[in-house]
Amino acid sequence: MALNSLWARITKIDRLLMLLLIMLAVASLWLSLGRAVGRSVLIYEGETLAFTAPLSQDRHIELQGPLGVTQVEISAGKLRIISSPCQRKICIGMGEIHRSGDLLACVPNRVVVRIEGEEGDYDLLSR
């Protein structure tokens, strides 16, 4: 089956739609990467907000969870989890975050750290 005959089965509008889809994928990629750098860090132990800290100051934080202590470090404007008592260490493997809306979590130890951004940056707005 020649490739040409397959290409001939795709109508002009089909090709237009393919192009639109590629453009949509690129646009959504660009949007997701272009998010603003965050300002402050929100730290949750379980369901409650334990405390917040600015992203600009270097800091070493220890968080208590059901499994033990998770250590989080803010340095050079980036946040990362250094150690955690979980089994798989996925949270450590996630690396550094610094953009607003970014999130690191150790699910077994119920620790969530999130970066919050400017005033105009909100995840959910209800009126």
């Binding site: 089965r9 109508t11 089909d14 739609l17 959504s28 990629l29 997701s32």
Partner: protein, 193 residues
């Protein structure tokens, strides 16, 4: 043997029912087969069952496509064993999203669009439907939409492949005398005779 127009019509209706049953069975087979395939990327399904949805759309029309997709989702879930579970919910929203976009494309563009175009509409609709319900129910966080670019590109590739397969299938089926009364609804028709 067929003496009146009425008999011919009821014969065609019966044929449609029989073939739709076969198409649905095939779609269910493909759906469950795909669910069993080992996959390094979970949720990135090729969606082979959509080939049958496109075939139903092309030969029998919009309603048949909806019937096929919904039946495939419900019965497939029943067979896999997660009916009304979260996996089923994802599948259902994906399927409805796909059918909505395919219906929109079919109604708005009619003969101008081909099965490949309809297929990528269906694939994109499926992706968006799944991300939508996942953001609401499963993950409950809007950050799931960050996966959209990867999903859309995958939808493009799988959509084109499924569309071509469906186009080939429809052409092949319409050569058979059992489909003599049917016409290919979308895309380029290859002059046969």
């Amino acid at each position: 043997m067929i003496s009146s127009v009425d008999e011919q019509q009821s014969l065609e209706k019966t044929r449609q029912r029989v073939f739709m049953a076969l198409f649905i069975a095939l779609a269910i087979g493909l759906h469950t087969f795909e669910a069993l395939l080992p996959n390094p990327l979970p949720w990135f399904r090729i969606g082979l069952a959509n080939i049958l949805a496109l075939t139903a759309l092309s030969i029998y029309g919009l309603r048949a496509m909806w019937v096929l997709s919904l039946s495939r989702i419900f019965i497939g879930s029943l067979l896999i064993g997660n009916l009304f579970g979260p996996g089923f919910l994802l599948s259902l929203c994906g399927g409805v999203g796909a059918c909505l976009l395919m219906s929109g494309g079919a109604l708005l563009l009619q003969r101008g669009i081909g099965l490949v175009g309809l297929s990528i509409l269906g694939a994109s609709g499926h992706v968006c439907g799944q991300l939508f319900i996942a953001s609401l129910v499963v993950v409950q966080h809007q950050s799931i939409w960050l996966l959209l670019p990867a999903f859309l590109l995958f939808a493009l590739v799988s959509g084109v492949l499924n569309g071509l397969a469906a186009d080939l299938l429809v052409d092949y089926l319409l050569e058979h005398p059992a489909f003599a009364a049917c016409r290919k609804g979308f895309g380029y028709h290859h002059a046969k005779g």
